[in-house]
Symmetry: C2
C-alpha cells in the first residue's frame, strides 16, 4: 500500500479544501467530517492529516477563503455618493450572506478554543478596513477614532441584521425584508451620526 504519488501535497491540499467547501455548501457545516472528505477525494483519513494539522486548521482555512471572496465582493461595490457607497457595501454584505449562507454562517459559528492565528485575524481586518475607509470619507472632518467607532457600530449592526434575518430568529422574515431592515439601519444611522 501507499506511496501513490498521483498528486503533489499542494494538489491534495487543494482537493481537500475544495471537497470540504462543497460539503459545507451542500449539506452545511455540521455535515463536514474527515471521513467524508477522504471518501470524496479518494484518499483515506490519514492523508488529510498530511496537509492539515487537524480539523480546526482545515476549518480556519475554509473560513479564510470565504473571507477573501467576501472582501473581493465588497471591493467591487461602487456608487456615486459616499452614503450610497456605504449602502452598497451593506447590500453586498447581505447578498453574500444570503447567497453563500452555509459558508458565511460557518465564519461565525465555529468556536475554536484554540487561539485564533494571526494570519486569520488579518483576513477579518481586511473586511472591516473596507468599511472603515468608506466612513472616513463620509465625515472627513472627524478623527480616525471616530470613524472607526462609527464603522464598527454600523457594521456590527448590519451583521446583526444578516444573522437574525437569515437564521429565522426574526420570525418569518424573508430576505427581501432583510434588505429593507438593512437599508433602514444604514440610513437612520448615517443621518443620526452626521447630526
Amino acid at each position: 500500500m501507499a506511496r501513490r504519488s498521483e498528486h503533489t501535497q499542494e494538489q491534495i491540499r487543494e482537493m481537500v479544501l475544495h471537497a470540504a467547501e462543497t460539503i459545507v455548501i451542500e449539506d452545511g457545516f455540521h455535515a463536514l467530517t474527515v471521513r467524508k472528505i477522504a471518501m470524496d477525494i479518494g484518499y483515506t483519513v490519514g492523508s488529510i492529516y498530511m496537509v492539515f494539522a487537524n480539523m480546526d486548521d482545515l476549518i480556519m482555512h475554509i473560513k479564510a477563503r470565504t473571507l477573501d471572496e467576501l472582501a473581493e465582493r465588497l471591493l467591487h461595490a461602487k456608487a456615486d455618493s459616499v452614503e450610497q457607497h456605504i449602502q452598497a457595501l451593506a447590500d453586498a454584505y447581505l447578498a453574500f450572506a444570503h447567497q453563500h449562507f452555509n459558508r458565511w454562517r460557518m465564519i461565525f459559528d465555529a468556536q475554536h478554543d484554540a487561539p485564533v492565528p494571526e494570519w486569520y485575524q488579518q483576513k477579518i481586518q481586511q473586511v472591516f478596513l473596507i468599511v472603515e475607509a468608506a466612513f472616513r470619507k463620509l465625515c472627513p472632518g472627524q478623527s480616525d477614532e471616530q470613524a472607526r467607532l462609527a464603522a464598527t457600530a454600523l457594521w456590527s449592526g448590519v451583521h446583526g441584521v444578516c444573522v437574525l434575518s437569515l437564521n429565522g430568529s426574526l420570525g418569518r422574515v424573508g430576505s427581501e425584508n432583510a434588505q429593507v431592515t438593512v437599508n433602514t439601519l444604514v440610513k437612520s444611522f448615517i443621518q443620526g451620526w452626521r447630526a
Copy 2:
C-alpha cells in the same frame, strides 16, 4: 437492576436541565454530552431519553430558559425618558450577553435542522416584543409597522455588536468598548430615525 424510583420524572428532568446548564456555563456548549450529564446526576445515558426526546430537545429547553431569564432582565430595565429606556434595554442586553456568555452564545450557535417548535418561537418573540413596545412609545405618531421595522433594525444591530465584540471578531475590543459601540449605535439610530 433498575426501578430505583428515587426521583420523579419531573425531578430527573430538572436535574438534567440543571446539570446541562452548569456544563455549558463552565465549559461551553461543545462540552455538553449526554454521557457527562448522566454521570453528573448519577444516572445512565438511557435515563436522559426518558425525559427528553433527544439532545436537540434538551438544548432547546436550555435555550428557552436562558431566553426567559433574559426577558425578565429586560423587563426590569427602567429609565426616565423613552430614549433612555431603549438605551437601558440595550445596556441590559449587552450585560446579559457578557455575564452569561456561554449560555447566550448557545442561543444563536446551535443549528437544528429540525423545525423550530412553536413554543420556542414564542420565547424569542417575547424578547423582541419588549423592544417593540419601547419603540411604539418613542414615535407615537407612526404606524405599528414602522415601529416594528425600527425595533427590528436597531435590535438586530445591538445584537450584532454583542456578537462581534464578545467573540473577538472586532479585534482586541474589550467589553467596555462594546458598551461605547452599543451606545453609539442606539443614539445615532434614534436620532436619525426621528428626523
